[in-house]
């Protein structure tokens, strides 16, 4: 399985249940406008967390991949929930800049995860030790982003 397919599957894996949950929750009567905004707000937060998990896990295991595929895979993870994010903006839940800043965090996370894998593959020649180290560092990155999610959400204005 190449990285692009992996990116597609991982995006579907969170977006399908999220869409199911969201559309089931959308009781679109006129008195629930505030609730709709909250729902889309929650959906955006879940999307960004899922995207971050996606880009970190994408570079967790070494997969035969070209540089172009790597970029396409990250772009796919970023672009995949665009229709949902657009709906979120249309519903007034979030403005464009926070969504863009949130996506920037996802991109930087992807680049960091990619950098960790590339860097360590040059430093550590032993494949077993290298994979262990990559895994440990990327899980640490994941935990850090989760633990400090309020910080970067606040920075992005989410």
């Amino acid at each position: 399985m190449n990285l692009i397919r992996l990116a597609t599957l991982s995006s579907l894996a969170y977006l399908l249940p999220l869409t199911l949950w969201l559309t089931a929750q959308l009781e679109l009567d006129d008195w629930a406008a505030a609730r709709v905004t909250t729902l889309f707000d929650q959906a955006v937060h879940i999307t960004l967390i899922a995207q971050i998990i996606g880009v970190i896990l994408l570079f967790f295991k070494p997969v035969e991949s070209s540089r172009q595929n790597d970029i396409t895979a990250v772009a796919l993870i970023l672009f995949f929930p665009l229709p949902l994010l657009t709906l979120s903006w249309l519903s007034g839940s979030l403005e464009i800049i926070p969504i863009a800043l949130g996506s920037l965090v996802v991109t930087l996370t992807g680049l960091t995860a990619f950098g960790i894998r590339q860097g360590l593959s040059h430093i550590l020649p032993n494949p077993a030790g290298r994979e262990g180290m990559i895994g440990a560092l990327q899980i640490t990155l994941l935990i850090l982003l989760w633990q400090f999610r309020q910080v970067w959400w606040g920075w992005a204005g989410l």
């Binding site: 597609t8 679109l28 009567d29 396409t72 949902l84 519903s91 839940s93």
Partner: protein
């Protein structure tokens, strides 16, 4: 700047303030009112060295405060605040001959159900909003004759909305003449000879007053809530296409085009000026050419974008959103034209409640003959079909041709639609009323671009009920 009704107000109700502006030169200016209803901007034209007196409807905040700001180009901004005194009880406005005032106060205090505001005729409200907390008016013909035109119009609107008026020693012809243009068949206008009659008369007339129009929450239930299938279709359709394309495409990089195309489609469909919707509920007594009206105006909600609505009729507009976050209501001088603008989001329409009076004769009469309802078309053209609500049951009322009468013969059904249920709750067990769907053109009330859903309720006349 000073407040009407001696600065007394009932929380949640409208009242009025008088603002006097003197300008040293001719200029356009904006007068901004900040109250419990958010911001309302009045666009004014000021003339050189001319004194301009305005009476403006307001809804004071809980603490009674209202802030008025005057902004003129190239001039400083002037800001004044005024604080009104809250009263829990509705107001009885008294304007009678000075020698009678002391005695009338003593008499009225025995009722204990309202706050008495003693005024000269000059203190009568100048706007419909000025009567927001007024439950009854006790006055004499001299005071009525001394009213300015604007005050007379405001009093006329108050009476049309079934307000109580007690007149000191007025002849029956005067009462009858006033009653012709008043609501509730003019039955809430009475004459009295002795001050001692007032408490009993007030009690009696209060019992005759029709119930208040439905609350906004109940009116909102009447709106047609179409399920928004477009959103699930859009999202699931996109996911399905993504799955299909990812398995079909030989160049997976092309997959990136689909989210962008879907996003563009979403923007085309859901971005731009949205629709306007009006849910309208009007109530009239049989034979009354006046209907009291409450409506909810929905702006947008089906799209994200800028919405604009104009109202040319004199209505009291109340925001149902957070007033502090909403765009101001604009009021253009001279022609009572309200200009409502807002930036709305998808699924989140901006809502306003509108209260007013519509003078529109209806053709159906409903009389309770020995407790049995009889409906008659008194007009010259056929009436639309509707429902009769009687004894908690709903009956299908057919379209009636001129002079045709109808009475329920078959067993009624339990009220099913939200409008029937709402009306049923508003009727006493033995009371009867007709529920007639009304169209966009009814009363000339709805702006032309607005889709209207509305009902006219015709109650059996108070006389018949009593």
């Amino acid at each position: 700047m000073h407040a009407g009704l001696l600065g007394k107000f009932q929380p949640g109700r409208t009242t009025e303030i008088g603002v006097e502006i003197v300008s040293s030169h001719a200029a356009r200016a904006d007068l901004s009112i900040s109250d419990a209803n958010g911001r309302t901007i009045h666009h004014l034209q000021l003339n050189e060295h001319a004194r301009k007196k305005l009476w403006l409807g307001i809804k004071p905040k809980k603490d009674g405060s209202v802030t008025v700001t005057l902004t003129a180009p190239s001039d400083k901004t002037l800001t004044h605040s005024i604080t009104l005194t809250a009263t829990r009880l509705p107001i009885t406005l008294v304007s009678i001959a000075p020698n009678e005032r002391m005695r009338s106060t003593a008499q009225l205090k025995t009722t204990q159900e309202s706050v008495i505001v003693m005024l000269s005729s000059a203190g009568f409200p100048h706007t419909t909003q000025g009567y927001g907390a007024v439950q009854s008016v006790i006055t004499d013909l001299e005071s009525l004759a001394a009213l300015e035109q604007r005050q007379s119009e405001a009093l006329g609107q108050y009476l049309a909305g079934c307000g109580i008026l007690l007149l000191d020693k007025a002849s029956s012809s005067v009462v009858e003449r006033l009653g012709r243009s008043a609501g509730c068949g003019g039955q809430l206008i009475r004459s009295y000879n002795q001050l001692s009659e007032i408490p009993q008369l007030l009690q009696q007339l209060n019992g005759l007053r029709p119930p208040k129009l439905p609350e906004s929450k109940n009116l909102a239930l009447l709106s047609s809530n179409q399920p928004h299938l477009a959103v699930p279709l859009y999202l699931f359709g996109y996911l399905l296409l993504m799955v299909l394309l990812s398995s079909l495409l030989k160049r997976p990089a092309l997959l990136l085009a689909l989210p962008l195309l879907t996003t563009a489609t979403g923007l085309v469909v859901w971005y731009g000026a949205g629709g306007q919707q009006l849910t309208l509920w009007a109530e009239a007594e049989t034979g009354d050419p006046i209907a009291r009206l409450a409506a909810i105006q929905y702006s947008g909600g089906d799209r994200r974008g800028f919405q604009e609505t104009n109202f040319t009729t004199d209505v009291v507009i109340t925001r149902l959103e957070n007033p502090q976050r909403s765009t101001p209501i604009e009021h253009r001088e001279g022609n009572d034209l309200y200009h409502l603008t807002s930036n709305t989001a998808l699924f989140a329409p901006v809502r306003y409640r509108l209260d007013g009076i519509v003078r529109q004769p209806h053709r159906l009469s409903l009389i309770l003959d020995n407790g049995q309802p009889i409906v008659r078309n008194t007009g010259t053209s056929a009436t639309p079909a509707g429902r009769l609500l009687w004894k908690r049951n709903s009956y299908a009322l057919p379209a009636l041709s001129p002079d045709e009468t109808w009475h329920p013969e078959q067993q009624g059904e339990a009220p099913t639609t939200p409008a029937e249920r709402l009306l049923s709750r508003r009727l006493s067990f033995n009371g009867a009323a007709l529920l007639i769907p009304i169209s966009q053109e009814w009363g000339g009330f709805a702006p032309s671009a607005t889709s209207t859903t509305g009902w006219l309720v015709i109650r059996s006349s108070t006389k018949s009920r009593s």
